[in-house]
Assembly symmetry: C2
Amino acid sequence: MTEQLPPDVIAQLTGLDSAITPELVATSWALLKPFHDKVGYAAPKIDRDRRYGDHERHRLDVHTSGEEAGAPVLVFVHGGGFVGGDKVVPGTPQYDHIGAWAVRNGWVGVTITYRLAPEHTWPSGAQDVAAAVQWVRDNIAAYGGDPGRIVVAGHSAGCVHVASYLAGQGGGTLDGVRGAGLLSGFYQIPDGASRGELEVSYFGDRPSTEVNSLPGLLDSEVPLIFAIAQRDPRFSQGQIVALTEAWFARKGTVPPVIWSEGHNHISQIGSIGVDDLALGAQLARFVNRVTQSSPRGDDPPNPDDRR
Amino acid sequence: MTEQLPPDVIAQLTGLDSAITPELVATSWALLKPFHDKVGYAAPKIDRDRRYGDHERHRLDVHTSGEEAGAPVLVFVHGGGFVGGDKVVPGTPQYDHIGAWAVRNGWVGVTITYRLAPEHTWPSGAQDVAAAVQWVRDNIAAYGGDPGRIVVAGHSAGCVHVASYLAGQGGGTLDGVRGAGLLSGFYQIPDGASRGELEVSYFGDRPSTEVNSLPGLLDSEVPLIFAIAQRDPRFSQGQIVALTEAWFARKGTVPPVIWSEGHNHISQIGSIGVDDLALGAQLARFVNRVTQSSPRGDDPPNPDDRR
């Protein structure tokens, strides 16, 4: 059944200032929570705080129904401006709702957290995604997941970390990673004074040429799907413009982008489970397509066309 | 219920050469037809060949259940390279399936045909769309449609005509037009020798500055939604790139674009009714949003954001 938010809630979500502020976070989640309460945002089984590394923040939760066997695995990486956020935000559905949605779709869900800036800087995020994915390879069969059918998705700063991992910036391998969802992140940042405060806390003054993930994404053999929210702020919107130009120059097509109608930067990830047509339905379609029982789900070759 | 095509059919559709040829049309529809047969592609009532003008091709069909009252009206304009196509293509679901889908969504469906090139040239397509919309204003209440809640959608050459109408190239008015769907068309063409044969048949050698719809679309107060198919040919893909750049420069956001995963130029419009997540579900969401009972469904103002 397709869940859909009522028009008055959409109007409120889209009417908020688009800047990513604590107010946007609080107001958006307050609007969404009743719908999550109704749908339910806890998978039947949640194994909390499995350790995927030595640091206190190297923790992840595994969400299952208890009945999975050889199921695809969705690994989700939260946002928080590089300096905050967590896999569970008490009093809100974050981000158990992603695990619950994964299980409803027949997959195993894994929600991770990771080391934060300013104490930990680039490429710690990519390293942590790589380590979490390795933990999944090593351990997920016991939960009924298939280590050869992993999809990694990240939102906001989490998207930046996933992109960074895909671009090879954090080491590790891509074995078993059948696809990745890059949700309202960024793929290149300016140098110098234009760099925002949160970006400086994580990237420092490392040159863009060192930290940008876009070149690596263009080279990636892992199928990707991007998302942008209707009311994402200008900086995020511009990332899709730059991505589109670079992707077309390289591949002759537009990149796969889900446009999340009726949502802002925060409510976009909050829409999972309660407003399927904004993001979740297409993301699920992608996950199911790339985890089909075949080798890495590459797109068919794109023959030269006559125009 | 969400209709979805099986993966093997998607694989075949996406494996075809992307060029828009009779072979693409025939093969795509052959793959889709069994699914349309199963879902059904005829609305309960179809009033055929209502005349919206003096020319033999000024004909449209009205699709209803017979129970509509004050319903939104979806007007659909088919493609065919400016020189062909029709609202009904015998032996295929085209394009009754659009009317049937409209009715299942609670709207009145109107499928039109129009004058063709080379006999009729720019701006005849826009003029015919304008005339058909006027007919709808004057007559649709008798079918249970609301003349103040019209959405116009076009595919391929039909999309070009709708864009042209929206840009004011065909006269008429936009009264009651609450939104428009622009599906795999183009919004600017090159001058001179780069112009394709079919474009020459319709546009002749009129300068791009005269015939391009993109500037008018950027100025449009009518909410728009675009679509591009994963396997649309390069020229069509490039249109979305140019649109994205121009839209962002004007509005600071990406344009609303539905990316039709798993489909080629032809199967994209054929997916309506049988593969909801490719195009139909999001298009329906758009239609319902813009035809809500309020003045023209404009997006909320986009406050300046800090980044």
